[in-house]
């Protein structure tokens, strides 16, 4: 899920989510674990940004719409607070080879208009999302399914993927084009939600007021103002609402939302503004949280840059730059001691995470070693005195400037080279250069997990030809490891192979990991049981009134 660039959020930018002290979510767990009953009729007010598109599962790719979709829809599985998939509509998801899946639905689930949720509700929705003619932003999420290429190509006439077959009302099968063991993990992502038949008649109108099957239903959407969600009484599942509804208020800035929290005019805020980071814990006390979530910040050095091409010289220079960055110092000075120094390329909340991958010492600050590596690279090909190492960032994401300048300064001071922070006027300007592969230097990057899986980081960012492989990285050995990891039927075995693949990344450093993201949030005195999920989004359905 991406954070909208317009909402100055955590996206690729991520940098906004500054931290004070790593109190690690203790407060919320205490209150949540306290088992306080709370008022189950209170309508919770929460902040959001205006959803950027109509509310169709395969067209919602940013948090403003995503948090609403996750509440009004439910898919085969949903994720618990730790990111573990829990069955919702699915009764069972079975496979023997990680390529052919048989999915059985628990009977009796309905959409809020009473129509049943059947196998066809899923198959039709996924076909709709994948088909080129519907131009859905999340279309690529279906690329693993056999037949995707035929329906997603420009001008495609076929609209049904060969790999999806309805067996009966409560059963369908999925055939992937290659074994992918983390496929079931993806099924809780927004793109994989079911749609009622009515949706396909006029998708545009449907997206303005969707009939859905989640714990809540949308009853009112005043654009740029608010979205009102009522409890969906027909929902049966693990995420049953503990409150009387959620009223999302659209904010243009988190600053004003924060004032509303202080005044009790808003119940839950999922992002403390930078201006309040220095004292939000004093002001809110145990009504605040600082919890890590599945996202990281990195610096990508594209492989097409002179001196940084894959190979001995490039690898030495990358390692030298990585070792010249004192991450802990930036975390303390720029982020008030928040964030957690990165130890690898994914995120700590994911299954299989380990901080002890061989080669990860390249992420530790060591000025002498950095200089030594840089000199070794110079012996291969000299770095000219007039040459510049720039790190691009977009100025419209709050907090970017501060950390990129800090990184550039450290590189400059340690290596004695001309390292500069290069501002781009907007996110779109930066993305255009990145997309067209016309960067003249490195750039700030990062990833926010769509679904809780290491592969979601490794495959999307570093796989050869992958859609978000901005640095043009390509390594056959690494690709093979990914394929093996996906093919493993045992998730633990898969994670082990993915971690082995990271050893290769540590040698090549297609991107330089900096730190993991954490969410800073707060809530008013009117609510209780506030907890944040694995993806940094509050678990709205569990919040109660006081």
């Amino acid at each position: 899920m991406r954070y909208s660039h317009a909402s100055k959020a955590l996206v690729l930018s991520a940098a906004l989510a500054l931290t004070l002290t790593a109190c690690g979510g203790g407060t919320s767990e205490e209150s949540a674990g306290g088992g306080s009953e709370g008022d189950a009729t209170k309508v919770i007010t929460a902040n959001t940004t205006e959803p950027q598109n109509g509310l169709l599962p395969a067209n919602t790719n940013e948090v403003g719409g995503g948090r609403v979709m996750d509440l009004i829809f439910t898919g085969l599985v949903s994720y618990d607070s730790k990111g573990k998939p829990v069955n919702e509509i699915a009764e069972s998801i079975e496979t023997e080879d990680s390529q052919n899946y048989t999915i059985k639905l628990a009977p009796g689930h309905t959409f809020s208009d009473g129509s049943p949720v059947t196998a066809a509700s899923f198959v039709d929705a996924w076909n709709f999302g994948a088909a080129a003619k519907n131009a859905q932003l999340n279309s690529y999420f279906f690329e693993s399914i056999k037949g995707y290429d035929e329906v997603s190509a420009e001008g495609a006439t076929s609209e049904e993927m060969e790999g999806l077959k309805v067996v009966d009302d409560n059963t369908f099968t999925v055939e992937l084009s290659q074994p992918e063991s983390d496929f079931p993990l993806r099924l809780g992502y927004t793109a994989f939600m079911p749609l009622p038949e009515a949706a396909f008649e006029d998708p545009k109108a449907y997206g303005q007021m969707p009939v859905s099957n989640g714990p809540y239903k949308l009853t009112e959407w005043n654009h740029d103002v608010n979205l009102k969600l009522e409890v969906n009484e027909s929902y049966e599942g693990p995420r049953k609402a503990a409150n009387g509804g959620v009223d999302f208020k659209v904010y243009q800035s988190t600053e004003s939302a924060y004032q509303d929290i202080l005044a009790g005019n808003l119940d839950v805020l999922d992002q403390i503004p930078p201006s309040a980071l220095a004292n939000y814990q004093d002001e809110l006390g145990d009504r605040s949280i600082n919890a890590p979530y599945a996202g990281n910040a990195t610096i990508t050095i594209s492989g097409y840059l002179d001196h940084f091409k894959q190979g001995e010289e490039g690898n030495l220079r990358r390692a030298a730059i990585s070792r010249s960055i004192d991450r802990q110092q930036i975390i303390e000075k720029v982020y008030f001691g928040g964030k957690v120094k990165a130890e690898e390329f994914t995120a700590p909340v994911l299954d299989g995470y380990t901080a002890d991958i061989p080669g990860s010492e390249v992420l530790d600050f060591d000025a002498d070693e950095a200089k030594k590596l840089w000199d070794e690279a110079n012996a291969i090909e000299a770095w000219g005195d007039s040459e510049e190492f720039s790190i691009g960032y977009n100025v419209d994401g709050a907090g970017n400037k501060e950390f990129v300048e800090a990184v550039a300064n450290q590189v400059k001071n340690t290596l004695g080279i001309n390292a500069v922070a290069k501002p781009y006027t907007s996110f779109k300007a930066l993305r255009e250069d990145v997309g067209k592969k016309t960067m003249s230097g490195a750039h700030r990057s990062g990833w926010q997990a769509d679904y809780p899986s290491m592969y979601n980081f490794l495959g999307a960012l570093y796989g050869t030809g992958a859609g978000s492989n901005d640095g043009d990285y390509s390594n056959k050995e690494f690709d093979d490891k990914l394929t093996d990891g996906l093919a493993a039927t045992d998730p633990a075995e898969g994670a082990k192979i993915f971690n082995e693949s990271q050893e290769i990344l540590f040698k090549d450093l297609p991107a330089i990991p900096l730190w993991y993201q954490a969410v800073q949030g707060g809530w008013s005195e009117n609510v209780d049981n506030v907890e944040f999920g694995w993806n940094g989004v509050p678990i709205y359905n569990a919040i109660t009134g006081k």
């Binding site: 790719n61 940013e62 932003l137 997603s152 208020k249 993305r431």
Partner: protein, 308 residues
């Protein structure tokens, strides 16, 4: 008068087209590709990208894009936003809110600015005059966003007299605080303008004559001095209405007012040309009309001014 008004309306046409063309080009020429940004750095299949480009005419060269825009404009079709909403609907939602805000701010600055200005001008050098002069200096010196945040915090959070942000309805009552912030700087200018003008006219011959005729002080001040002093003030207020509507971005941001300022700001950032052009187009019309009204008010204030 009638032909004067008609001529001014005719002037509106080239101004409108010139402004929209310029703005269209400026947004078109800003760096960055809006469609790439839509995907937020995540992958986008070529088919989806092509289809989105075609949908917003972004696959066409500038003149064709602008031509298509004008063609649709004739049928009052202002185009679509990237979120798939009619730009017309966006305007219909945002403009009444900002208009309310701007009119309130204008009323606040006109009423209090002129009132304090007259009192200060009539009592030049006295304590009231010194106090408001000093206060207005501070207001002018402090940036709007500082003023906004301070008032929001004190009134909204500490005192709890008003909510820190407005609700979706943005009712008149809720807009008092934002309108005050928005109008405060202009209020200081109106005050100083009125004061200076009053002091000047106070010495005028016709004032002495009026007083000598034995007219009451109230009549001398209100009709003879004030009316003649208002011309520069009205000019300022007229021009200010336009800037209040277009320039409320900061204030709207602080108080979360869903108005034109925030609409324009987010549209520029996204590179959403139809929205930017439409908003600016309407603002241009407002600006020109406000100036027309000012010109007509001159004639009312000063009988010597006549429009043929």
């Amino acid at each position: 008068m009638l032909s004067f008004t008609f001529k001014r309306f005719l002037q509106l046409i080239p101004v409108f087209f010139g402004a929209t063309l310029l703005v269209y080009f400026l947004v078109f020429a800003t760096p960055g590709d809006p469609i790439t940004a839509l995907s937020g750095g995540k992958p986008m299949t070529p088919a989806v990208e092509a289809s989105l480009r075609a949908q917003y005419n972004l696959d066409q060269p500038f003149w064709i894009q602008y031509g298509l825009y004008l063609k649709n404009l004739v049928t009052l079709d202002l185009g679509m936003s990237f979120s798939g909403q009619e730009v017309r609907d966006l305007l219909i939602r945002a403009f009444p809110v900002t208009a309310r805000l701007a009119v309130m701010a204008l009323a606040i600055e006109a009423v209090f600015g002129i009132l304090f200005g007259v009192i200060a001008g009539m009592r030049k050098g006295k304590w009231f005059d010194s106090t408001v002069l000093f206060a207005s200096l501070i207001v002018i010196a402090v940036p709007t966003f500082v003023l906004g945040f301070v008032l929001q915090y004190v009134v909204g959070v500490e005192l709890g007299w008003a909510k820190p942000t407005v609700s979706g309805g943005a009712t008149w009552g809720e807009l008092i605080l934002p309108a005050t912030v928005l109008g405060l700087v202009s209020l200081a200018y109106v005050l100083r303008l009125t004061r200076t003008s009053i002091i000047e006219n106070k010495q005028a011959d016709y004032v002495r004559t009026a007083t000598a005729k034995g007219l009451s002080r109230g009549r001398v001040v209100n009709v003879h001095i004030l009316r003649n002093s208002l011309i520069p003030v009205v000019t300022f207020l007229g021009a200010d209405l336009g800037s209040l509507m277009g320039g409320a971005i900061v204030t709207e941001g602080i108080f979360n007012v869903p108005g034109v300022g925030s609409l324009l700001f987010s549209a520029i950032r996204k590179g959403e040309i139809p929205t930017v052009v439409a908003v600016v187009g309407v603002l241009v019309v407002v600006f020109v009309l406000a100036n027309l009204i000012v010109d007509m008010l001159y004639a009312l204030l000063d009988p010597r001014i006549r429009y043929a």
